[in-house]
Symmetry: C3
Subunit: 436 residues, 3 copies
């Protein structure tokens, strides 16, 4: 229970949209994948901002049904045309190479080469993002205009990569609260130069981590920065017994653009995190859309697998896969903005604030209404609309304060916004009318 401190204001004071955008810009050029030095560089940069425990899990480790893959690193990659001119170069854009491509150095005809080339005919100026984690192959991605300009002849390709025993790297920032119960937030860190998906999520959680360090919280917070799928699976495998401490969780992804917001409910569908996001949307982002759980998406798939069934939802702006820039070179630094990042951060701060301040009060005077007037709590109903709203909120809180209703329940039943319910419940606590 937090009745007097103002967590939301403290969270909002910390950092800014510009800070988050600067971090996105700084990390944008790094070539990340589900393992390798790009991931390490990214985690090191985050560790400059917040205390981060970095885990290295050796290739070949068994994590539930999965095996940690070989580590992938890449130094250079290019295609030379028949005249010897580099026409596609990893140095220009790290999306040019299919992630986890095997090393290759050979000469081949255009026809043969084309079996390894990927483009977007509908978006002729954009480079697609492709991966080949679990079957060994190689390939290049390029704009469709580049592809169409290729002339017959013998080409030379070079991918100077290594795919070898190493480790999977992930980071976590644990911020201890009053209780062992955890609020977990998770961002994937495996995408190369894609700004919204998911440098935006990385930047948001980094700012949140700094902010949480500045406040006392009831919950302990766990921020997980891990490669998609294999990373969250690895975390869950290493924390199987402890996972039940997670009482609320959010996967945060694609939070830098101006769409949405969109929330996908947890598998359970009616847990506090689901209902908290709904309250925050109706207060702060009324255009927000909430959809039911489905078992496709980001790492909520793992957190919500039947053996864990954790109360974890997915928060996004535009929905993954549903915006044209998704998984292309157009998901760049122009696609995200400080103001959008800041709005998303604000939403997450409000969700955290709601979860932190939610509790189930018990009236100290449950028989009949307390006399608010003699305590100066009951002003004339006429006139000031805000005053009337506060008084109705007070009456609702007192009426439902039988210990069976949380503030969130009260907001839902009364239609009074959560922030006002919370404000008047603080006032009633100060006046001795509510207790735990």
């Amino acid at each position: 229970m937090s009745t007097s401190r103002d967590i939301l204001q403290a969270l909002l004071r910390q950092g800014s949209g510009d800070d988050m955008y600067d971090l996105v810009c700084e990390l944008f050029p790094v070539c990340r994948s589900i393992s390798g030095d790009g991931v390490r560089a990214t985690l090191d940069r985050i560790a400059n901002e917040i205390p981060l425990t970095i885990h290295e899990v050796p290739s070949g480790s068994e994590v539930f049904d999965w095996t940690v893959p070989k580590e992938w690193n890449i130094r250079e990659a290019w295609i030379k045309d028949p005249s010897g001119k580099k026409i596609v170069d990893f140095a220009d854009h790290n999306l040019h190479v299919v992630s986890y491509s095997m090393p290759v150095r050979e000469r081949l005809s255009l026809a043969k080469l084309k079996e390894h080339l990927f483009s977007l005919p509908d978006r002729p100026d954009w480079i697609p993002y492709r991966t080949s984690y679990y079957n060994e192959s190689w390939g290049f991605c390029l704009t469709h205009r580049q592809l169409e300009a290729l002339e017959d002849g013998e080409y030379e390709v070079c991918i100077d990569s290594t795919l070898s025993a190493g480790s999977l790297t992930y980071g976590e920032c644990f911020i201890e609260g009053e209780t062992e119960d955890e609020f977990m937030l998770s961002a994937h860190i495996c995408h190369p130069s894609l700004a919204n998906d998911n440098l935006s999520g990385i930047a948001l959680l980094t700012r949140l981590g700094k902010a949480l360090l500045s406040v006392d919280t009831r919950y302990s917070y766990r921020l997980i920065f891990a490669p998609g799928t294999i990373g969250s699976i690895t975390w869950l495998a290493q924390n199987k017994a402890r996972a039940s401490r997670i009482k609320h969780g959010l996967v945060v992804s694609c939070v830098g653009d101006g769409g949405g917001p969109t929330y996908k409910r947890s598998r359970r569908g009616d847990v506090d995190i689901d209902r908290a996001v709904s309250q925050v949307f109706s207060d702060f982002a009324p255009a927000g859309e909430i959809e039911d759980f489905s078992p496709y998406g980001y790492d909520e798939r793992q957190y919500c697998s039947p053996g864990f069934n954790l109360p974890v939802g997915l928060l996004e702006r535009s929905k993954y896969g549903a915006f044209p820039e998704y998984h292309t070179s157009a998901d760049d630094l122009d696609f995200v903005s400080p103001v959008n990042l800041d709005f998303s951060y604000n939403m997450v701060a409000r969700i955290v604030d709601l979860i932190e301040t939610n509790w189930s009060p018990v009236s100290t005077l449950p028989f009949c209404e307390p006399q608010l007037g003699k305590r100066g709590l009951y002003e004339a109903m006429g006139g000031d609309n805000q005053r009337v709203d506060r008084q109705m909120a007070m009456l609702w809180v007192l009426n439902l304060a039988c210990g069976n209703h949380s503030l969130l329940d009260m907001a839902e039943r009364s239609g009074v916004r959560y922030s006002l319910i919370r404000e008047v419940s603080d006032l009633l606590v100060r006046n001795g009318l509510l207790r735990r």
Copy 2:
């Protein structure tokens, strides 16, 4: 269970809309407040009609979080203009004085006087109704035309009132039934010359009391006539342990005008009284509106406080606060009518009838359908629509008579009106097909 007696007809035979209207007229001029001789006079008049236990609770008594206030009485009150002419006089209309005004006798300027005057600029011919129970002050209410006609100069004001140790007065009429379980109906008696709010409720409960005395009932009935808020709080404080006997309850207010009807559900929201009113509305008052509980309104606020959480709803015609005449001199004897009072009484009688006759029958022949034909219960389906409806009702009752469904449940599930469900269940009891 009541299968053969016809409570509804007995209740409707007693009294009339004219009787109720006459009582409203007789009580209209009395100056009531939350205490004082006007309340006593009102209760004495009711006691002429029904047996009434009148309670006097001394000023200063603690009732939960509240204290019974000083008793207020008033003899005269007026304003004289600079020429010495009485321009506002309590003798003309008891709304002219703010209820619970302190005694005052002084001369003062128009500017000073205006700090104590209340009018309705939007309704320039109506006198507002104002009270000041819990902070000591004085004031006059007048029409806006009166206010605007006031000229500069020295005015003289007189309020010959007393505010001193005395008692709070309330009455209750208890009518014993077959069981200790109670149906409670409550009306507030603290308003001066306001006809709808709540002389209408007083008159309706008085008629109901007389009528209930003429029938045998399963429930015991408790009719409470008490000042708003402090009166019901006092009753609950004096009957804390016994309050749980109340199985159904209605606060009855503003039942003399032609609006609505309106019903506000109990805090629990799905108890028998809530569902009974819904059935009666759909049968008898299809324009009726039902709204969810909210913790603002009349004495249901106290009955539905979390410590009691009694199954008590609020029945009105026009909703309090939502009709222009509310709490003004326009809530007068023209605003209510015998026919409207009678319709409201009829609704309450039907609610009582439903609650009285509701029970959960058990089929004596639960395996397959009983053969209705050999008992003369199953006429040819063709032809007579009423006959078809009765046969469907019989089939529904027999099909649901497993002891888990009340007649009210059956009416809700089948869509057959309650009165027909009850009629055929009586018939089936007489034929030995249903038992308790």
Copy 3:
């Protein structure tokens, strides 16, 4: 559980719409009633197709609240006009005689005769169908044109029937499955020359019985061919203790016309059979209408009586009583068709298939997602829409495979059609990812 066998295909391979229509044609001329040789002839014909146990229950036997009536048989019946000419003859159409008519042989005036005549003024060319099972009388049905052509004079009537101690006859076909749990299907056999009501149901269940004999099933199947009302009551009286073995049931009636389909839910309203029909309708008969249980209709009234409360619904095409041909000579061989019978059979086969194949799988790898890729189960998401659908279906099944969700639950929650849920669950079982 049935994961590999394909019950639906096996059921559909057996018989055809033409077979069913031929059986309807063959049985159409037989004069059936709730007892008598017409019923026996009908059951004998069915017994040529499927193994049928035929029960004879003596007149006068007590079956719950009912008594097995006297047996009725009829040899000839006619009306001769004043000139001695047969103007109405049972030999022309068996609907001409009111079923269960007492024997009569007398001369009487037209006025007296008319007390025993029934016609349909709105449908002047159709003969109505009338019965008089439980009060002893006699009568003739004729077209309204015939009735209007009657001239004054003395008529002679002859009904050469017997109503005497005998027995009630019904048949049942029991097909043993892996378990004692039963799927019961019931058709009434008491109607004379009416094709849709219910020779269609008789033909459908006969074909289904033949088909079920050709497959191994998890449930045992019980097909009941019995006179309406008294027949199902007799069956229930003779099988009271065993009735609870019925886990799913359908009354099948009026399934040969082109209307509907219509399904009336069981009294419980949300049992598997109710939900299975809903799935089959949305997949296969999207125009199908589903209505809530009501205690009027066919033999579901008995199966769903409160003492039994069996999970039995009613499946029809056009709803009984709601099509003009209902209970008239227009419910003839032109009113039903092979294609409509076949469509209805197809629906029932799909319902059986769904119920047979429904189970609640448990994931063998509930912690995080299994790695579908390494098992060749997880193809690239791009391209083929069907492939995407199958993969989503797989993800849903794995996500919900905690043992608390049946395949039917999964189809309902995911919106994926049942057949695909079932198909991928079979695949996942074969891959060792699901177990009981």
